[in-house]
Symmetry: D2
Subunit: 363 residues, 4 copies
């Protein structure tokens, strides 16, 4: 289903960076969900470029619901949200058509679509298409909050600087939702930004790692095998441009552990089942065990850099060089954060509604 | 779709470790595909426990096609393959029901299925259920070979020992398919095995990392957003028990790169588009760029260990200790290898048939 | 998904008439559902050929659960049911390969599968493949009964004889479930059987119409547009071999009605919303309105007849004649009945679990 | 997937009759398909109300592509088409909220969506939502034409008048595509219109039957069981509001045939396989046999009539009467025609692309 994600609750993305508009159709939401416009705007703001470390392109991101919302509430029928493209400078891009920007989908899109792709600004492959995902995610985050399920993501590592680790999940998560550069330790954040600016100064970019915690999920969410929680979440997460790795709990570091260290021993604590370590990221056999679900995503450095790079001109079929002008971010890790939260929320709502029903999700 | 994976070509898994049989239904295969029984057996053997570093449980893994195969070829209608469970020792497990083996799905399955799960030997969550996946994968690997698309996986790291890296992909891959402990450097393999045996000697287990390369894929396979090649492959890979991380190309190490390093510059070389580095793992924008598709999977140490661990008894609702007796592997990394190859092949056949048609895939 | 039906609850069919076995994988059932073997056998008996008006082929239809059932209850993981093929007389068919039986899938299967189809006894297209559907349906009928949702189907018309109409739904339905030749008026049934025997005597066959009522469904089941109750039910019903028409409520006769007659006026009656007529078959806008859901299916006369027919030999590419020997039914309308009930139950359980959750369905 | 139809090629519908806009997202179209705006407008015109026998509501139906079209061709990424709602008179409806219009979804939508539905003008259940389906269908009809696959539908029966039957398929179909009131015999059409006007004069409405033929389909399209051509087409057709019956070939009249009459004998004629009768509607075993695919749809009389009807007020929970004022059609059979053609084309493109690949479909 290419551009559609989810089963009971699904999101279909459409749009190109410099086309008429971008948007999403969200189907399967319960009826009567209040649309919190302030929260949606807050979330969109988190995705927006800000400050020196972001592209000077400033979209208003004025979203509009074309359907599925009536009297401020969801109707239960498909919600179509569109965000018009206003501040487009297509001339930035059209002249350079054929010059594949390294790390981008220019060449693969040209090959796949036989030269019919809308190449302007990355077209359908632009990170801008994540904006309607954030709107859909904001609605789903709201649904989860009513069930006391909270999602929080921090910049675990960026530009070679580590953030402080999650300590007590719930407090950490509360503080993160307000920050545009989501770190647990603001000094570490300042160091990261300083390094980002240094990379920007030489026309380069940096990457990082986002770490997410979901607290409050009931035990028993997720399915064996192909709808394991890891499978469903990673499916969504890897659809975010720039994500090149996803790991749950200890992730790749489990390769160097022994079983006796990796296994999270269970205990009854005040009647509840808990583990003291959480190397499995709150998931056993693809199903939540009641501990926080924790995962990390690797975000590659922004491929658009002004530094000169070797590349091909696939129209003239020759080797050439490119210096990506236009307006770009030296780092997108902090902006990707809210997209990770959004797709996590959509996927969890989908899985919860399968177990408990769409009606329950709206209660 | 819980236990079903794939769209045009789909695999549905069923079975429990100690039930009557395990199996899979494979739908959407082209008609007329010759069933190579020797190759299927070879692949099943790769999954089987062997030597001192594996469980003494020896299943014959005698598979039988109940449907979809006629005169040695696929009919084009659903192929059901079953593998009877013969060498089951249910008494190993039934006495300890309620004692959650740490790192296993015992507690989550109990919670999800309200105590109705078949708990014997891990039931539906047993790694044994991957055997029919390997049969399905063997058929798909055969289809890909006819298109000169080859898949190879080596043990990149195990028990804290690194294998040699992939050098020239095609040669490496050819040699791997014959090895039951798939390393590129056999000395490193011997060191790994030695470390595995050391862990086994103290009743513990180890994990590792598998690295896979797919060569020969045409440019343009994969879809934007939710059917990106990364999304589809990770969805399948994370359904394999014990996989806790998946990364493409440079993966998590991209977090410490700059864009100018991470971006894989394009070149025309003898008329073909190539990149000199392959940090993006052969995928730009979710779509193959013609370079080998490369990814790694983190495999956690086998959770079943004889060392005593703290845990709960969820029937009697009390804390207790457990020493997992039964028959277990101190390492499953080498056995998971063929499962990774299998699910990769299934997913690629599915995506190729979408683009080129089911008929083409069978040609 | 070719041979898979359903979303939250899905059934995947496999098998060929004269292969090793036929079967189904049922995924998404709640855990803890008691398997009522007597009821499953009763339902399978309704599908079996009986008496002079049926084929002398007598399958024992001994089903076996390979997975998903433990201690007599569903585990919540996929249920695989298989029915071995025992009483196969492949020699009946193999000699005549190439001679397309008119009204059968011989020629289309040959064309679609390039001559690789298992042609024996109709292969995967045999009506026999509905037997595992009946097992799946029996489980779902049981789930619905616990919610006081009842399904009943009678032979509305057969061999040019009309049955009495449904009068009071619930009583009618109760009486039907016990009958192997399900008519409301047994005298009409006797007349039908007499006509069937007359057709059989001259080597011919007859068709008919089945009418189904579902009572007890809550208001609000079904979705707008593509998951309308009509869409979902007809999708399943038209997968039954021999079904050539499906109509809801007044169906085709609505073509001759005026709106004022067709519209079912609403009334409050003892606090409940009812309609006096039910021309819309209990469905408005694709969604149940609380009245019985009523639909009819046209069942074509059995295509296998001993009368000589013109046809082609698609191997030798020449015109020829055929007289279908083997073992066949002069009428299958009464046997199709339980298949209609089964697929209706599966589809309703799927839609109910979407709305109320899988957990609810199992309560 | 509620409001999404199709697998490889899918259409997602959104919108409410009196909301901001209605639209569709069409995913999976090949790249490079020329958008024939004149043909799209022609098809939309066929759906529009015209003359005395239609509602005076005159929408411009000015569609706009928000995405997926670039330089007049499809890009291969999702096409979003929107049609703004301009000529809405919401006051017609709001005052009467709670009074369920008989035959409409007012009561079922209210029940399903807990009173949160956009009730204005039927909301998401309005026949108006079929307009973007017609746009999607126009693109798919164009794809099929390039493969010499033609779809034609005539009004087989309306207001108790029969049209002439299909005679030679191809000629009939060519003539139909130009007519806004698609009959084969214009005198019969005039009689139908006269009867429609008579019904309108007394504030009532009429229904009818549409018969569709698809010529040029290759042999072998359709799948066994749940993706039978009948299953897939009926799924789509029953999603059209007002369709209450679907039959293939002889359909319900097969109930009165014998097998020897119903079976369509095969012949070689000039090297091609043909049948002389086509009672199976060009489909054996769910798969095309090369003969025209023929089916009929029953269209119920427009439920909106000005005649006074009994009904309920579900807000005040009392019995009442209603006379539907507003702007309505005494007959919609002729307008539904192009919707039937559209959904047929979408479904066929989906099934063809599965067999032959998306790339082939665009050639």
């Amino acid at each position: 289903m290419k551009n559609t994600f989810g089963n009971n609750i699904s999101v279909t993305l459409f749009g190109e960076s410099h086309g008429e508009a971008i948007g999403a159709v969200i189907d399967g939401l319960p009826a009567g969900v209040e649309i919190n416009e302030a929260f949606i705007s807050h979330q969109l703001d988190l995705r927006k470029p800000t400050g020196k470390i972001s592209t000077p392109r400033r979209e208003k991101d004025e979203y509009k619901f074309l359907s599925g919302v009536f009297n401020g509430k969801t109707t239960g029928t498909p919600v179509c949200v569109v965000i018009p493209n206003e501040n487009t400078q297509s001339k930035d891009y059209s002249a350079s058509y054929g010059k594949a920007r390294p790390g981008h989908a220019d060449f693969t899109a040209f090959s796949k679509y036989n030269g019919c792709e809308d190449y302007r600004g990355g077209g359908h492959f632009s990170g801008r298409i994540t904006a309607p995902l954030v709107v859909a995610g904001a609605v789903c985050i709201g649904l989860l909050k009513k069930k006391n399920i909270l999602i929080g993501t921090h910049i675990k590592r960026c530009a070679s600087v580590d953030d402080a680790p999650f300590s007590e999940y719930i407090n950490d998560i509360e503080s993160l939702s307000e920050k545009s550069f989501a770190v647990l330790d603001d000094e570490k954040g300042a160091a990261m930004i300083s390094n980002i600016e240094a990379a920007a100064a030489v026309g380069d970019s940096v990457g990082g790692i986002l770490e997410t915690a979901v607290v409050g999920l009931p035990v028993g969410v997720g399915e064996p095998w192909f709808d394991s929680l890891e499978s469903m979440l990673s499916h969504g997460l890897f659809s975010i441009p720039a994500i090149k790795g996803v790991e749950f709990g200890a992730g790749f570091s489990c390769a160097d552990m022994t079983g006796s260290v990796m296994n999270d021993s269970f205990f009854y604590e005040n009647g509840a089942v808990v583990t003291k370590t959480n190397n499995n990221g709150g998931i056993n056999g693809g199903i939540t065990n009641g501990m926080p679900v924790v995962f990390s995503c690797a975000v590659k450095p922004t491929p658009s850099i002004s530094k000169e790079q070797n590349t091909i001109d696939f129209i003239n079929k020759e080797n050439t060089v490119i210096s990506v002008k236009g307006r770009h971010d030296p780092c997108i890790v902090h902006r990707v954060r809210v997209v990770v939260d959004s797709i996590t929320a959509i996927s969890l709502c989908d899985m919860l509604s399968q177990k408990f029903g769409t009606d329950w999700l709206g209660e």
